[in-house]
């Protein structure tokens, strides 16, 4: 036996044939794939060149429409049937810096071409539906409100969130209750991000948000999102009820959001509730309470702020130091540094930052 047994005899010959076929097929596949990639590159380059040409042709016309030198109807004829979706896409990119009358004129340009986009809402996959919602809400909200509102209940959460976000961006606070009722669908999204959507809706959303915040039947996470949104909106009317809520509620996430809200809009009347939160077993609640105390606190809170330096959770000390600075207790901070308090660094940091600013 001179060689490996698999390389000898009939089996060896068979193996060789199989290998040869495999090599041939794989070689062909590699060449075919490389060919496809090259063809794809050429196709993409042609497409990009076509885009560029079209945009160069449309840009002066759209700018003339914006400058009111041309009426929107005047350039509609220049958009070929096959280029309509491309034109809408181009307009969509055009809209982000626009407001008021200019935005209305761009919307007038898009209006005749939106019907096929609305079709995507019925026939497209989830990403096409989400994109269609965004396009319709940005360029044709007035004509497609029911479609955008209905998309809140689309089985795909990404379509739902696109609809919620578009409705928030519309600034029409009447839609806030409908979105709040469906927040549970978006439970995976970051609560901070969801809260920021309502903030973009404007102060008109505040009554609905307050109602949700005070409704014990709602899930705590939804109430926490409402509290955060009210904080972003700086809703002063929420301060009183929020302070009362802080004394009643036990959910840490909700308490932190309410404390943040009080830090933004609270009044001294909220201080007893904030001080009570300083005794929480949850370190994150204590840290947020200390931060809020630092904003709202009065000179009589000096003792609490100093005690914050001893808290085992360092974030409490971070906020205590900042609170002392806000209360103007620079001397207390300086003495901590001088006496080489174990957390003198926290005091030094605040003093340094103040000196730099």
């Amino acid at each position: 036996m001179d060689q490996f047994s698999f390389a000898a005899g009939t089996w060896g010959a068979l193996a060789l044939v199989v290998l040869a076929y495999a090599i041939g097929l794989l070689g062909l596949a590699v060449f075919a794939l490389a060919g496809v990639v090259l063809a794809l590159r050429m196709h993409n380059e042609r497409k990009a060149a076509r885009w560029e040409r079209q945009e160069q042709a449309w840009s002066p016309l759209v700018l003339s429409v914006l400058a009111e030198d041309l009426e929107p109807e005047a350039i509609l004829a220049s958009v070929k049937r096959d280029d309509r979706l491309m034109f809408v896409d181009y307009l969509l990119r055009f809209t982000s810096p626009l407001r008021g009358r200019e935005l209305d004129r761009v919307r007038a340009l898009a209006r005749p071409f939106l019907a096929p986009i609305a079709e995507h809402l019925r026939k497209g996959d989830e990403t096409q539906r989400a994109r269609a919602v965004r396009t319709l809400a940005t360029l044709g909200f007035a004509g497609y409100r029911p479609e955008v509102l209905a998309a809140l209940d689309d089985p795909a959460p990404i379509v739902g969130i696109a609809a919620a976000r578009s409705l928030c961006l519309s600034g029409e606070s009447a839609y806030a209750p409908a979105i709040l009722d469906r927040l549970g669908r978006f439970e995976h999204w970051s609560p901070r991000f969801l809260a920021s959507m309502f903030a973009e809706m404007g102060a008109g959303a505040a009554p609905a948000l307050r109602q949700v915040l005070l409704d014990p039947a709602r899930p705590s996470v939804v109430r926490a999102i409402a509290a955060q949104a009210l904080c972003d909106l700086k809703d002063a009317h929420a301060a009183g009820p929020a302070a009362a809520l802080l004394l009643e509620e036990e959910d840490a996430e909700l308490r932190v959001a309410v404390l943040r809200l009080l830090g933004r809009v609270g009044r001294p009347e909220a201080l007893p509730a904030v001080r009570a939160a300083l005794r929480s077993a949850d370190p994150v609640v204590r840290a947020q309470a200390m931060q809020t105390l630092g904003v709202l606190g009065a000179p009589e809170d000096l003792k609490e702020l100093r005690r914050g330096f001893e808290d085992p959770f360092p974030w409490v000390a971070v906020h205590a130091a900042e609170g002392l600075r806000r209360l103007g207790c620079r001397d207390v901070l300086q003495s901590m540094v001088r006496m080489q308090h174990p957390r003198a660094n926290f005091a030094q940091e605040v003093l340094d930052r103040e000196a730099l600013s």
């Binding site: 490996f4 060789l16 995976h188 809260a195 903030a199 000390a317």
Partner: protein, 472 residues
């Protein structure tokens, strides 16, 4: 004697063949999974406009932690790039890890640094902190100057001083693209259970850089650098994307990843006794969350991009791959209880065994295969037509995988916009299988043996600096 040799080589050839089949099957599956995943992701990006997130107050603050050790050639450009990122609220924390060159002096001069204080909010043990500097020009730029303790130690020092819910681990020799933070935060916004996300690393050699930004994507000048471009495309677009498609991401590059600070601090930060601290952290994240029953997700997405210099000399390449292999060994052997353990889900049953048997031990099999082939040839034991056909098939298979990676790039990002670069990538996909791959196997084998015999240390990786790239 001859019969014994033949029997031995038969066993070896069967093991090598089984390894060849197994690893290539995994590569094929991950590459094929990457195609739909990439297309789906591209469509998703179009569905929720990324610019919406830039303006949203909901984008959470991030600290970018960049350890630097003897990086005077690149640190100023890198920090400039980091300070020019397009993100609503972020801080750059550079940790000077006991540099012996002029890194700190260059930073002090370039960014008008003055001594300051920043209290630590976590107590992960690190080498002594010598000082902290704030920039007069950039309120969001801080430098921690510390005794040398290694990259993991520097990251831990940064983590101790990080004040934001998320931190981005990068290197001071890495150029993070302007919108990379906005892109990499997306998975955290879309899924609150996300604890870590990795981004893509691309090779900056040969690319002109202006103010810390890669302004034109070109291939490196050297063949060694060019091979690594293909290798990175295969690794990031085909490999990691494929693993992410089955929700089994086990590696997040040390040069660019975003983490939830609280979870990493709870874990005790990075392990300092390994050179593979990046992989080790992700393995321990999986382990921690599974053992504590914490719902979590670790993801990889390809569109946030950071650019780095790759080694263009054999000696540096050898040190890098040696270190990577040791890191792999240390991360896996340090968490052996996860191997094949259903308690750890897909990680324990799929990703970990793949890394352990095919990537860590596989290198030994591959090396043995080459060695056995050489010895068998010397003794005249090889059936040449069969062996040649098998080798040709192996090379073609490697070419096919690389071509698929290039196809993924073309389908998605098309960063190499010149037609001749695309053609060159195809040429490289063929050439890298003849010589380069075998060389890498040798370097990895060296790393494996070093890990086995507990050799420590990073090995020096000299940097030419991005300015050199500009000069070219």
């Amino acid at each position: 004697m001859r019969d014994v040799l033949v029997a031995f080589f038969q066993v070896v050839s069967l093991v090598v063949f089984a390894y060849f089949l197994a690893i290539n099957l995994v590569y094929l599956v991950t590459t094929l999974s990457a195609f739909p995943a990439l297309l789906r992701y591209g469509r998703r990006l179009k569905a929720v406009e990324i610019r919406d997130l830039v303006t949203a107050v909901g984008a959470p603050p991030i600290t970018v932690i960049a350890p630097a050790h003897d990086e005077e050639a690149t640190c100023v450009d890198s920090v400039r790039a980091l300070l020019a990122l397009n993100y609503p609220e972020y801080e750059v924390l550079l940790v000077n890890d006991g540099s012996t060159d002029g890194t700190l002096a260059r930073l002090i001069e370039a960014f008008a640094l003055v001594p300051g204080a920043r209290a630590a909010v976590s107590q992960i043990p690190t080498a002594a902190i010598r000082g902290l500097y704030r920039s007069r020009r950039h309120p969001n730029f801080l430098v921690i100057d510390k005794e040398n303790g290694g990259k993991a130690d520097a990251l831990n020092a940064g983590l101790n001083h990080c004040r934001t819910p998320f931190f981005c681990a990068t290197d001071a020799d890495t150029l993070v693209e302007r919108d990379a933070l906005i892109r990499i935060i997306r998975p955290f916004l879309e899924d609150r259970e996300t604890v870590a996300v990795g981004g893509s690393i691309r090779i900056a050699n040969g690319c002109p850089v202006k103010s810390g930004v890669v302004v034109d994507v070109r291939l490196p000048k050297t063949l060694l650098g060019q091979f690594q471009v293909v290798e990175y495309l295969r690794s990031f677009l085909a490999g990691r994307l494929g693993w992410d498609a089955v929700n089994a991401t086990l590696i997040i590059p040390g040069a660019f990843g975003l983490f939830r600070r609280s979870v990493v601090a709870e874990l005790g930060g990075y392990r300092v006794d390994t050179v593979g601290e990046d992989m080790d952290l992700v393995v321990r994240l999986h382990r921690h969350c599974r053992e504590k029953g914490i719902p979590y997700r670790v993801s990889f997405i390809a569109d946030p991009i950071a650019w780095t210099e790759c080694p263009e000399s054999l000696a540096t390449l050898m040190r890098q791959r040696d270190r990577w292999q040791r890191g792999l060994y240390e991360s896996l052997t340090g968490n052996l209880r996860m191997l094949g353990n259903p308690r750890y889900g897909r990680i324990g049953l799929l990703a970990f065994p793949y890394q352990f048997f095919l990537e860590m031990l596989g290198v030994v099999v591959e090396f043995l295969g080459y060695a056995a082939f050489a010895i068998a040839s010397a003794f005249g034991l090889v059936g040449y037509p069969h062996m040649a056909a098998f080798l040709l098939l192996a090379v073609l298979w490697g070419v096919a995988l690389s071509v698929m990676a290039v196809a993924l790039e073309e389908l998605s990002y098309r960063r190499y916009s010149r037609f001749r670069d695309l053609l060159r990538l195809f040429g490289l996909a063929i050439l890298e299988n003849i010589g380069f791959r075998q060389l890498i196997t040798c370097y990895r084998m060296k790393g494996f043996l070093a890990a086995l015999f507990r050799v420590k240390g990073w090995g020096r990786m000299p940097r030419e600096g991005f300015a050199t790239a500009r000069a070219r």
